[in-house]
Structures are given as structure tokens and as C-alpha cells.
């Protein structure tokens, strides 16, 4: 370790230490397995010995105070940190048994399997149609225009956007409202047909009605995709997830079933956070 981690000190104070995480880090039918994951941005130790599993058919919510490493962890799952100039990642993340950090894995192919939705809706400066078609195009998923049309329509249909934008597929995606833009971004992600969808506070820039729509959508999508969602809203975590991972200062503090975490947190830090004493 290049710098002494503040997280360790706090953990020691809180009586945690090496036995992190508490709860049940393993999943019965694991899709993603994270082992000894460490991440640095320059000298900042952003993730510290994180290890747990995310199972098939699961919606896992990552919660924790700002700056605790939730987003960093999320970005390690599709290797989005690769392009960050001073970022360094060690450890292992396996997707269906294959380590995504091994040399043989191509990040481009990986990202076709692990999609991501961001905090702020970020549609491309292209038409609605092209926004959704883009991923399918670069991965060569459609052999002709009809197939591409089919992919675009299904994806828009699944996020409930098709009836709202059917007549204006040629208009810029940036002309849509915030909630529509976010659903467009989800449609864009599922058009590539990934296994996992990562969501980084997908509702933080949206109003309550748009948020409700996205949450319903997450519910529907969870039948087909493994979803990892970072959220600041405890209510949202309780509504959409079946498991919760609580992080604090770069460390995974507690993992467990959503109901159990919110009713009977094992760790003092988790309890403090979900009862609003810290964070």
C-alpha cells in the first residue's frame, strides 16, 4: 500500500478491522465475484480489500456516504477506470468465472456484457434512434436495417419510451426531458443485450415521477439482468434491491439481504448510516 489508509484507522476505531465485511458476502449463484479489490487514484486509496459476490437474478444496491468508493467499485466492474490516467486497480473481478482483469479480456467485449447508466443522463448528440442503435452498431449486432430497427424498437419499448417518441425518432436525444433522457440511456444500454447493468445513482438528477418510472423499470429489468445500483436514497435501495452492500471509506462494511440490513444491521457503522446518524 502506498499510503496509510484513513479507512483502516476508522475501521480500527469502530472495532471492525480485518473481519470486514460482516454479513454474507457470498451469493448462491454468483455472477460477479470480487476478490481483494484495491483501487487508487494517484495517492488516494479509493477501494481497500473489497471482496464479495453478486448473484444471478440479483439487484444489489451499493450504499454509503459520499466518497466511500461506491462509484469507484462500480467503475471497476466494467473497467471504466482503465482510461483514467492515474487510476490503478489490483485484485480480481470475475464475470461468470472469468477474471475481467486478465490480459485476455478485451474491455470492449466486456462492456458489451456489462452496461452502465450514469448519474446524469448523457445521451449522445445524435437522434433518438441513433442513440439506441449506436451500441448495436459498434458491436455488429444487426446485419441489416430491419434488424437494427427491431432492436431499437424493442429497447425503446422495454423502457416505456416508444409510445412517447415513436413519431420523433429522428429528433436529437438531447431534446427529451431529463427522465426521458435517462430512460433513453437505459434503452441504449439494453440494446446491446448485456448480462449486467451498472447504475450510478440513476435517479439523482430526476424529479419524483421520473424516479418512480425508473424504479419500476429496474424492477422489470431485474428479471433478465443482474443490476448493481449505487444510490444515496435508503428508500430507493429498500424498494428496488434484494441485497445491499454498505461501504465506508473505501471498505466494504456489510453485505446482506435488503430486509435484514434495514431491519437488523449487524455492524455499528451500518446501523449509524441507515438510521441517519452518519452520511
Amino acid at each position: 500500500m502506498r499510503t496509510p489508509s484513513k479507512a483502516n484507522d476508522v475501521a480500527a476505531d469502530a472495532g471492525g478491522g480485518p473481519e470486514f465485511p460482516v454479513g454474507d458476502p457470498s451469493a448462491p449463484d454468483p455472477c460477479i465475484q470480487i476478490r481483494d479489490l484495491n483501487a487508487w487514484y494517484g495517492d488516494i486509496h479509493a477501494l481497500c480489500d473489497v471482496g464479495f459476490e453478486i448473484g444471478h437474478g440479483e439487484v444489489l444496491a451499493l450504499i454509503g456516504p459520499s466518497g466511500c468508493g461506491k462509484t469507484t467499485l462500480l467503475r471497476c466492474l466494467n473497467r471504466l477506470n482503465d482510461a483514467v490516467e492515474d487510476a490503478r486497480v489490483t485484485g480480481e473481478v470475475t464475470l461468470d468465472g472469468q477474471n475481467i482483469y486478465s490480459g485476455s479480456v478485451d474491455p470492449v467485449a466486456l462492456r458489451a456484457r456489462v452496461g452502465m447508466v450514469f448519474q446524469k443522463p448523457n445521451p449522445f448528440p445524435k437522434s433518438i434512434y441513433d442513440n439506441v442503435a449506436y451500441g448495436a452498431r459498434i458491436h455488429g449486432l444487426a446485419s441489416d436495417r430491419a434488424e437494427l430497427d427491431e432492436i431499437v424498437h424493442t429497447s425503446l419499448e422495454r423502457v416505456g419510451l416508444l409510445k412517447e417518441v415513436r413519431a420523433r425518432l429522428d429528433e436529437p436525444g438531447t431534446d427529451l426531458s431529463g427522465g426521458q433522457q435517462q430512460r433513453l440511456c437505459i434503452a441504449r444500454t439494453i440494446a446491446v443485450d448485456p448480462e449486467v447493468i451498472l447504475m450510478d445513482e440513476p435517479c439523482s438528477a430526476l424529479d419524483p415521477i421520473a424516479t418512480a418510472k425508473i424504479e419500476d423499470l429496474i424492477d422489470e429489468l431485474s428479471a433478465e439482468y443482474v443490476i448493481v445500483i449505487v444510490t444515496h436514497s435508503m428508500q430507493q435501495a429498500a424498494r428496488v434491491s434484494n441485497r445491499v452492500a454498505y461501504m465506508n471509506q473505501g471498505q466494504l462494511v456489510e453485505v446482506g439481504e435488503t430486509d435484514r440490513i434495514f431491519t437488523n444491521p449487524l455492524h455499528k457503522l451500518t446501523e449509524d448510516y441507515i438510521t441517519g446518524r452518519i452520511g
Binding site: 471504466l80 466486456l110 451500441g135
Partner: protein, 460 residues
């Protein structure tokens, strides 16, 4: 007392008035720290007093500077001996001019009449300065007195000072606008004189440019031809060649520095690219004429082509390289202004670096890039030195890049170099060409800015 001393005096007056106004306000407010009783902070009363003291003398000073010479000369002319008064206006002007020359020379002129007039001129000038100084002091003192009378606790000094500052700023921006308007008017009036001799349609649509003007009326071939199409075609040809170099090289280099290069490479590459922009155009000019043009000629002739010694291609190529930094810098800015979130969105979809750059970033940065390109086109059309040196003077109506062509700017230069009569069509043609050039670049800017604005609304 000369002008510098008067200005120094006014500066001293301003400082004094400031201190006076501030202490007066403090006294009225009930001592230092009693600003609560005043409408404005004491300093504002000081600034107000300083403005009262300085503005009226400054205005008089400005007017004086504008009219002093004329008034002094008129007074001098009235006081001249009768035989000089009887001279024709032209000769009188000549005499007054020699008086002024004698006044600025160190020695006393030999001609006693001229010497007397010079003495008179100098003494008139001296009394004018004394009068001015006196007036400035009186006005300044009057200003201070007026300020003293108006300063009382409820007086809104801050508002007055704010108003004064606003007018000062308006005046500053007015200078820029008025300069533009002034140049435009001057060029337009001269161009109108040109169009009295040459019809507008001949000028705009004529295909022959041969701007001779007869010295004698009976001279053969006296009628010049002022059709600007060959100049426009030459300008266009060279601009197109230049942009064909500058647009791809500029955008691609910006793409590299903004999207691909690491911070360290970027920190090195950008300044080096921008050094290109610091090279004087005359250096590019001889680079074009001594190296590029012969090189193009050699290659062309080895291919069996007929290449002029000074070709549009040489000038256009070199001009293109001159413009690369401009396009590159503006494109780099536009590309870096594309939000990182959009870039990451594409990255998370599995787009490769080049796919992100070409499919996502480039379209998003397009408005800024187009703005940069339009600026570069204006620059290419207005550029003079390279084309003067490398493109030749022959006004050929041709789009063959291997021929020698000439441009609007080159012709303006050649028309005005050397001794000119300022009423011949030949000289006035320069103003007409300047007006056309101005209109073209203005239209480019208006279109470019409109385009950029429309896109900006969409993507913000």
C-alpha cells in the same frame, strides 16, 4: 505650462478633492466610523468630489486639444500684414504651414515677415496654454466647491459614482464601435467615389482586371478595366487550397491532443503547435516563394505539367500551414468542451477510442469546430503577405492551382504601393476592393456565429 503639467495638476486636484470629499463626509456623519449615518460609504463622497473636480477640466482640455490649432491659426491670419491677407486661400495656407514648420524648427527664419509671424504664432500658443491652465484650475476649483455644497448625509454619492463608472465603460466600448463604424464609413465613401467612374456591375461581374489609369487623356489604352472576378476567383482558389490543408490537419491534430495524448505529451505538443502561429507571415511568404514554389514546379514538370513559377498551389499550401494552429486551437477547445459524461457513456457501451472520437465527440464539438473554420476562412481571405510574395500578380480568371493568380488583398497592396493620386480610379479601386473584402468576411462571421449559437442552444 504644457499639457503634461496640466494633467499632473489635475491628478493632484483629483487626489486633493478625494481626500477633501471623504473627510467632509466623515465630519458630516459624525467622525470616522460613523458611516452608518451617511447614505454611502465616505470613500464614495471622495470619489464624487474627485469626479466633480476633474471631469469639467478634462472635457475642456479635450475640446481645446481638438480646436486649439485652428483657433490659433485663425487669430494669426487675422493679425497678418495686409499684403499677406490679400493672398488667395491656397497661398495663405502655404504661408501658415511654413510658419508652423519654422515654429517647430530651432533656428529663426531669414525672412523677417515669416520670423515675425512665427514669433506671433509661438506667443499665441503660449497664451493659449496659460489660458487653458487657468481655465482648468478655475473649473476644478468650481467642481470642488459644487461637491462641497452637495455633500450632506442623505446625498447619494454611491449612485452618482456608479453612474459615472457606467458612462466611462460605455465610452470605452464606444471607442471600439466608433472605430469600426468610422473605418467602414471612410471606406464606403471612397468606394462610392470609385463607383462614379466605374459601374457597379462592371466591378462585380467584369472578367478583366487591369487597373491602369491614364496620366494624359490622349494616352493609348488609357481606360483601365476594373472587373474583380479574377481577383475573387484567385482569392477563392487560394482560400480553398489553404482550407484543404488547414481543416484536416487542424482537426486531426486537435483530435490527437485533446483525445489521445497523455497530459505530458499534450503539455508539449500544444505549445509547439502554437509556435507556428507566432511565425510572422512574411517568413511564411519567403518560405513559400523560395522553397515550396520551386519544389512544386520541379515535381509538376517532372510529371509533364506546366507550372508557373509563382503558383496558387504554393501560396495556398503555405497559407494552409499558417492557419493550422488557429483551426487546431479552436477545435481543441471545442473538443475538450464536450462533457466527459458523454464520452464515458460511449466508453461504457464498449466504443473504442477512435469510435468515441469520430462518432460521439466530433459531432458534439462540431459547432465550435465550424466556428473555428469560419474564422480561419476569414483569415485566409484577408491574408496578404504570403500571397503577395508567392501567388504572383497576374489577374487570371482561372481555377487551375498551378497557374499564377492574384487575390483581392494583393491587388489592394499593389494599388496603394508607390506614389498615388488620390482621385484616380486606380487608387479608389483599392477602397472598393476593401469594402468587398469587409462585406465577405462580415457575412462569414455572421453566418458562423449564427450557426454556433443555434447548436449551442441545442446541446446545453
Amino acid at each position: 505650462m504644457d499639457l503634461t503639467s496640466i494633467l499632473l495638476l489635475l491628478a493632484g486636484l483629483a487626489v486633493g478633492a478625494f481626500l477633501f470629499g471623504r473627510s467632509r463626509a466623515q465630519a458630516l456623519g459624525g467622525g470616522v466610523g460613523a458611516a452608518r449615518n451617511l447614505h454611502s460609504l465616505p470613500d464614495y463622497y471622495g470619489y464624487f468630489a474627485a469626479l466633480c473636480a476633474v471631469l469639467p477640466p478634462l472635457m475642456v482640455l479635450t475640446l481645446w486639444a481638438a480646436f486649439e490649432e485652428r483657433v490659433v491659426l485663425a487669430l494669426l491670419a487675422n493679425g497678418l500684414p495686409d499684403h499677406l491677407q490679400a493672398l488667395s486661400p491656397g497661398q495663405l495656407d502655404l504661408f501658415l504651414n511654413s510658419v508652423r514648420n519654422a515654429a517647430s524648427a530651432a533656428s529663426v527664419p531669414a525672412d523677417p515677415v515669416l520670423a515675425a509671424a512665427t514669433d506671433e504664432y509661438l506667443s499665441l500658443g503660449r497664451s493659449s496654454r496659460w489660458l487653458l491652465s487657468g481655465l482648468a484650475v478655475v473649473l476644478g476649483a468650481g467642481g470642488v466647491a459644487a461637491a462641497w455644497r452637495s455633500i450632506h448625509p442623505a446625498f447619494r454619492a454611491r449612485n452618482r459614482v456608479e453612474t459615472a463608472i457606467r458612462w466611462f465603460l460605455i465610452a470605452a466600448s464606444g471607442v471600439a464601435v466608433l472605430t469600426t463604424v468610422g473605418i467602414l464609413l471612410a471606406v464606403s465613401f471612397e468606394a462610392l467615389r470609385f463607383f462614379r467612374d466605374v459601374s457597379l456591375s462592371e466591378f462585380l461581374f467584369g472578367t478583366t482586371w487591369s487597373p491602369q489609369a491614364a496620366i494624359r487623356d490622349d494616352q493609348i489604352g488609357s481606360a483601365g478595366r476594373f472587373g474583380m472576378l479574377p481577383l475573387l476567383s484567385g482569392t477563392l482558389l487560394i482560400a480553398v487550397i489553404a482550407m484543404a490543408v488547414a481543416i484536416p490537419v487542424g482537426i486531426l491534430s486537435a483530435m490527437y491532443t485533446a483525445e489521445y495524448a497523455s497530459t505530458r505529451v499534450r503539455a508539449l505538443a500544444r505549445p509547439v503547435l502554437e509556435i507556428l502561429a507566432g511565425i510572422p507571415t512574411v517568413v511564411y511568404g519567403f518560405f513559400a516563394v523560395l522553397m515550396v514554389a520551386p519544389w512544386i514546379r520541379t515535381i509538376g514538370e517532372s510529371l509533364g505539367l506546366n507550372v508557373a513559377a509563382e503558383s496558387a498551389l504554393a501560396a495556398g499550401l503555405v497559407m494552409g500551414f499558417m492557419i493550422v494552429p488557429l483551426v487546431s486551437s479552436l477545435s481543441d477547445e471545442a473538443i475538450r468542451a464536450v462533457p466527459a459524461s458523454i464520452r464515458e457513456g460511449a466508453e461504457a457501451l464498449g466504443a473504442t477510442r477512435s469510435e468515441i472520437a469520430l462518432d460521439i465527440v466530433l459531432p458534439a464539438a462540431m459547432p465550435g469546430i465550424v466556428g473555428g473554420i469560419l474564422l480561419a476562412v476569414s483569415r485566409a481571405i484577408g491574408e496578404t503577405m504570403i500571397v503577395v510574395m508567392a501567388a504572383g500578380l497576374a489577374a487570371n480568371l482561372s481555377f487551375n492551382p498551378l497557374e499564377s493568380v492574384t487575390t483581392v488583398t494583393v491587388q489592394i497592396t499593389t494599388l496603394l504601393v508607390g506614389d498615388q493620386e488620390f482621385d484616380s480610379a486606380r487608387t479608389l479601386a483599392a477602397f472598393a476592393l476593401g469594402l468587398v473584402l469587409f462585406i465577405i468576411t462580415m457575412l462569414l462571421n455572421v453566418v458562423g456565429l449564427g450557426y454556433v449559437r443555434r447548436y449551442r442552444e441545442r446541446y446545453e
